[in-house]
Symmetry: C4
Subunit: 208 residues, 4 copies
């Protein structure tokens, strides 16, 4: 919807609206596929309720990944409303970003089922880190010299988005580091980030 598709005789100029539809689809599907990691307990009777209640790692992994995808979706929304057009490099980096977002359900399942395995936690934190890096590359490409930015964006607004994006890299880098000492702790830390960061990401709606 952003980037006001200017049409000259049926040819859309910027192409941001269909990119948003496609991206929204990938974000929404990746977030909803997370539920497929949950498994029905195999033993019935008292063990059934016990496993549902005490095996909380899948819930933690689900909430962390869902909120993280939600934050990335919100940030992506902010990013798209700031740009006026799309070019090939932007589209290429966007595809890479979606490739990483769509991958999230797998490391989520890894830490849900094997939360004590360092490799699972590395994979999880690593995916979040790569996602944060690719997001920054996308934003830096779009905003460098105001390459793709809408003329209505004030310098202060651009700086606010830059800062909001940049903080993701050291934060998710810490998640990866933490996995060396405590795989489960690193997921809990990622959860804490997402809970504290979500209102911050959403806050930009108040300003825009």
């Amino acid at each position: 919807m952003s980037g006001a598709p200017a049409r000259i005789g049926g040819v859309e100029e910027s192409g941001t609206s269909r990119l948003e539809t496609f991206s929204d689809g990938v974000f929404a599907i990746a977030a909803t596929l997370l539920v497929l990691q949950f498994q029905v307990p195999k033993h019935h009777g008292p063990a059934f309720g016990h496993e549902l209640l005490h095996n909380w790692h899948p819930y933690l992994a689900y909430a962390t990944s869902f909120l993280t995808i939600g934050i990335i979706w919100i940030n992506h929304h902010h990013l798209m409303v700031t740009i006026a057009r799309v070019d090939r490099t932007f589209l290429f980096i966007s595809t890479l970003l979606l490739l990483v977002v769509a991958f999230i359900p797998y490391p989520t399942q890894l830490v849900a089922e094997a939360s004590s395995e360092p490799a699972a936690a590395y994979m999880y934190g690593g995916t979040l880190l790569v996602m944060a890096v690719v997001f920054n590359v996308l934003w830096i490409y779009a905003s460098r010299d105001r390459r793709l930015l809408s003329e209505a964006m004030l310098p202060g607004q651009v700086r606010a988005v830059t800062q909001a994006c940049a903080v993701g890299v050291p934060m998710t880098g810490l998640v990866v580091l933490l996995a060396t000492w405590t795989p489960l702790g690193s997921v809990i830390f990622a959860f804490a980030i997402s809970v504290f960061y979500l209102p911050g990401a959403a806050m930009m709606f108040d300003r825009s």
Copy 2:
């Protein structure tokens, strides 16, 4: 589409349209993923048809969850057409609501495969209850002092939505209570609610 995105130089003000696209995606995907709980009977021959016909719990769970998601989607539609803009708190609560909606396929599978387990029925009713509560929180936040409401909404319309929302909490609370005595009965009760409530939810289309 609602909230008439006012654009000033390419910057969308309210952001309701993309929130709707994302939400519609999550609702539609969660509803469609419900089918993955069904499993092909393992034994062929006469046992095959018998299991398809007599193992009716998965069908009950599927219909109940599908109709419930449909109702929530309709109510969410009503809610979105009443509001004029979106702020960070609204977005935060919306993300929580979607997190609960996207979770529904799991408790649905639990009651489909283990309908006699109280823990499965608690999980199912509990998810519906949490969803009803979060939906009310979302509506109360948006409508308190007409914070985010469109100016065109008449007080009578606001009251109608409030009442339609509020009834969900005691109803789904009853589903949870019933699970103590009869796990399967609580799912049947949830099904009855959804069947009777769906036309009521849809009725608001006649008035709007």
Copy 3:
């Protein structure tokens, strides 16, 4: 997009556009989930290629269901462009239609894995029959006395849609009947219907 959402102060009147988004989502997801029925052959070596090549029932089931969902989607599109508004009964029947559409991947998997089981073929044909019936109920409700129809619809156009819809019921009824004698044959017949019917459904685009 159809039903030209007339907005008075931010309140959408008809609600057809979001119903279309939600429906398109369910159609697209149900069609795409069909691929999950395919299973990687368990034995490697020569048996691997042999099973991929000779076990053609899953391919038949996939193509039949995908084309059938495609036809229903096209017909649903035609139906939506003919109506000017949505009411609660229409929304209720629409939800039932989507419930049946979203169920299709399960009977598809049944006939893919157990094509010689009459119960699987009954379930498959039965689902298609119920879908055709619900679709007709939806159309009859909308078009009876031109209840929800756009004023621009000519009587001849209304009759064309009525005829195109009605033919689905006896056709899918035949699929169910055939399952009594030849389960696999009934699926092949359903495939033939979809292949011959798809251009017919699409043809209406030329007239509209």
Copy 4:
């Protein structure tokens, strides 16, 4: 959004916008379902990390298919903005294209789990080849005698799209041929194509 839906009294003429919504849904879902092929390693301990790290074929298959679907989506976007209306044959071929796109997760899983099986690589390359052929048929049908093209399209633009489409057939044909000698090599070649081709596909955004 393309094909500027001209509405006369509520009846949409061309129907391109809903076809785009449906197509975007199938593209986005097929791309996101690819992640379901990944499986949590069964053995814990050192074997867990080893399998995550050294079993790289699933990652290759995931990236190749995701980028390929991304390219086809971009090309489909270009195609849709060039046309002014949709007819029944176009819709029929579009449905076949989506049927092939939605099938991709299966051959992807085949080469991920059995990358040394020629049959898996044939199936993978064959699916890409069929997709390229169907895409060309769709474009040739739309552009022959400018049948469905927007009047604003210049002959040079039409030729550019024709050339961009045509190159896909011999390229994916090579993938199938390569599978005879080296199944894994053919997937790596398909990956190389997608990486080099993506910027080229996206480049057309600069011109349009």
